[in-house]
């Protein structure tokens, strides 16, 4: 057995989650070994964003059963900021705007909290910031703007990826980071994801509707979610199959009670 199989970066075990008395996740299992990128695909309302929020510890959701392990340790009792400091990062589908909070100031405090004060000081941090912004085609003037305030859809997504690059998470969860981006934007964002995971022992979980971003990231495994369950998993070819045939055929098989491998 490979070491990464014993202690994967992320191990979701029979996770059941509800909100306001309605069960959304009905027992899902996902295991991401270190150095791998997985993707969850599925239609709106299938439970993808709930999965992301529960991994990050959103207080609105109630975990009714199962567990979420980060490198073998349960994180369910941890506050979101503790999860962040433990190495979990969530790129939001709809990031919050915070008028009055300057991007530069926010990034410095965030990096200081997650990676320690020394990482957020001096010329090393400035160089790292400059380099990451350059890769994402973000101008220096971005730093004096307010967090997500008046950002276009593409700017919001790039800013999420910038934060991911600076925080250097062990596990990056990206919730529809590709939506609303043009093809150049998708390529840029994909490069950012590859930067953080490929060639490292980190891991990533990409949540998406579309296969476009997966052409640039090439996930190791794809999970398809329908009705709060993972109904099938497979290699990168599964994304192409879904792109060509949609979800109807899968839904029909689920309705007929067919079991998937």
């Amino acid at each position: 057995m490979h070491l990464s199989d014993e202690n994967p970066i992320l191990n979701i075990i029979d996770l059941q989650v509800g909100i306001d008395g309605n069960q959304i996740l009905k027992g899902i299992d996902i295991k991401i070994p270190s150095g791998e990128i997985h993707a969850i695909m599925g239609r709106n309302g299938s439970g993808k964003t709930t999965t992301a929020n529960v991994i990050m510890g959103h207080p609105s959701y109630e975990v009714e059963g199962g567990d979420v392990l980060l490198e073998g340790e349960s994180i369910l009792e941890m506050e979101p900021w503790e999860r962040s400091r433990a190495g979990v990062f969530l790129s939001f589908q709809y990031p919050q705007a915070v008028p009055g909070l300057q991007v530069g100031n926010f990034l410095r405090k965030s990096v200081g909290s997650v990676r320690g004060d020394d990482a957020a000081r001096g010329s090393t941090f400035r160089e790292e910031l400059k380099s990451a912004m350059s890769k994402l085609n973000m101008p220096p003037s971005f730093l004096s703007r307010y967090v997500n305030d008046g950002f276009s859809g593409g700017e919001k997504k790039r800013f999420e990826v910038l934060q991911m690059m600076l925080l250097r998470p062990r596990l990056a969860v990206l919730d529809e980071t590709d939506s609303g981006l043009d093809i150049d934007g998708i390529r840029t964002v994909a490069e950012g994801i590859n930067d953080v995971v490929r060639g490292t022992d980190n891991g990533a979980l990409i949540i998406t509707h579309y296969s476009r971003i997966l052409e640039h990231v090439r996930p190791d495994r794809i999970h398809v979610m329908i009705g709060g369950k993972i109904v099938t998993s497979g290699g990168p070819g599964l994304a192409t199959l879904l792109e060509e045939n949609g979800y109807d055929w899968l839904e029909q098989r689920v309705a007929e009670g067919e079991e998937f491998e």
């Binding site: 900021w81 990062f89 990031p95 919050q96 915070v98 965030s110 909290s113 997650v114 934060q163 925080l167």
Partner: protein, 367 residues
């Protein structure tokens, strides 16, 4: 009628009047005996310099003032009382026409006597560009600050008042006349004094006046901070905005009352008022009441609104996912809320200087 006679001829102001609805005059009066004008009143210490310590050229602090143009028509309790009590402590800040130093000028008012009062008259020269911060400090029991004046034709003025009094009561009365094509940003930052009553009035009596009133108010413990803002559009093509942010913690209370008056003949007036309150504890209280009196039909728009609520849970979650503890995140969100108005008050130099002052106060108040 002289101010003393005028004040003594007035009865106790009616609490039905917008200005006195929340904090009655007898609570604000220095002795509580509203039928008297105290005699033991000391002038505060004053100093005028730039943020970098230089003495500015083209701006002077001169003792005395020319006759004060009357406040716009409404309750005259505060104006007559303040004119009477500051009769021997009146100064003029005179700004040369065309003044444009690219530096922020600071007037520091230090009030340590039990009862202190001063009248500052601003005379901003035509076509000048004047950035002016008045910082109020000290440990007095009561400070009266009367600010009158006018901004010259075509001038640009950023006029910010910062209340950093250690305790006691601040009564602030402003009456500012905005001349033709003159642009004014009027900022208020308040995180000091146990009680504040402000009666701020602005009048645009000439066409082309442009006024942006901004507030960053931080209250904690058992502070009561009551600001009344009147904006008078008395000429065509005048523009005003009011954006007032109050963050209230502890058992404190903030009040914001707005009065927007657009008189007949003010065609093309464009005015809006917005009060936003951030409630930081269950026992904190914030009241905001904007009012409109519009007697001109042909306006671009006149509107008002108010919103109150606790710190946004989704914003807290977002900052938490970036490694910021709940306390850090809350503190940052309060600072951001106040900064979103503060950052519009003037230059980057002034903004950085003000943020430093406010950050110290946020820490000191434990928010």
């Amino acid at each position: 009628m002289d101010p003393t006679s005028e004040y003594l001829s007035l009865g106790e102001p009616d609490r039905a009047v917008h200005l006195w609805r929340y904090t009655p005059w007898r609570k604000v009066h220095p002795t509580g005996n509203i039928s008297e004008i105290p005699e033991e009143v000391s002038p505060p210490g004053l100093s005028l310099c730039c943020i970098n310590g230089e003495v500015p050229e083209g701006v002077r602090l001169i003792q005395g003032s020319e006759s004060v143009e009357g406040l716009p028509d409404s309750d005259s309790t505060t104006s007559s009382f303040m004119s009477a009590i500051t009769a021997n402590s009146t100064w003029t800040v005179e700004v040369d026409p065309g003044f444009n130093p690219g530096k922020t000028v600071v007037l520091e008012i230090n009030a340590d006597s039990p009862i202190s009062a001063v009248h500052i008259c601003m005379k901003v020269g035509t076509h000048s560009n004047f950035e002016f911060v008045t910082v109020v400090k000290g440990d007095c029991e009561w400070l009266g600050l009367l600010r009158t004046g006018s901004t010259g034709e075509g001038s640009i003025t950023n006029d910010v008042v910062v209340n950093l009094l250690g305790r006691g009561t601040l009564l602030r009365v402003d009456s500012i006349h905005i001349d033709r094509d003159s642009q004014v940003v009027a900022g208020t930052i308040s995180s000091g004094s146990e009680m504040t009553k402000s009666d701020l009035r602005y009048r645009m009596g000439q066409p082309g006046g442009n006024l942006n009133v901004l507030g960053s108010i931080l209250s904690a413990e058992e502070m009561i901070l009551d600001h009344h803002i009147e904006i008078h559009h008395d000429a065509p093509e005048t523009f005003s905005r009011l954006d007032w942010h109050s963050a209230c913690g502890g058992k404190s209370k903030t009040v914001g009352t707005g009065m927007l008056k657009v008189s007949e003949g003010s065609r093309g007036a464009d005015a809006a008022q917005l009060f936003q309150n951030l409630l930081l504890s269950e026992n904190a209280q914030a009241d905001s009441i904007p009012e409109l009196e519009v007697t001109e039909n042909e306006v671009v728009g006149c509107g008002h609104g108010t919103a109150s609520g606790p710190v946004d849970e989704e914003q807290l979650f977002y900052l938490g996912t970036r490694g910021l503890s709940s306390e850090q995140a809350k503190s940052m969100l309060v600072a951001a809320f106040l900064n979103s108005t503060l950052s519009e008050m003037g230059s980057m130099e002034m903004h950085n200087w003000l943020v430093e002052i406010l950050s110290d106060d946020l820490d000191a108040l434990g928010i």
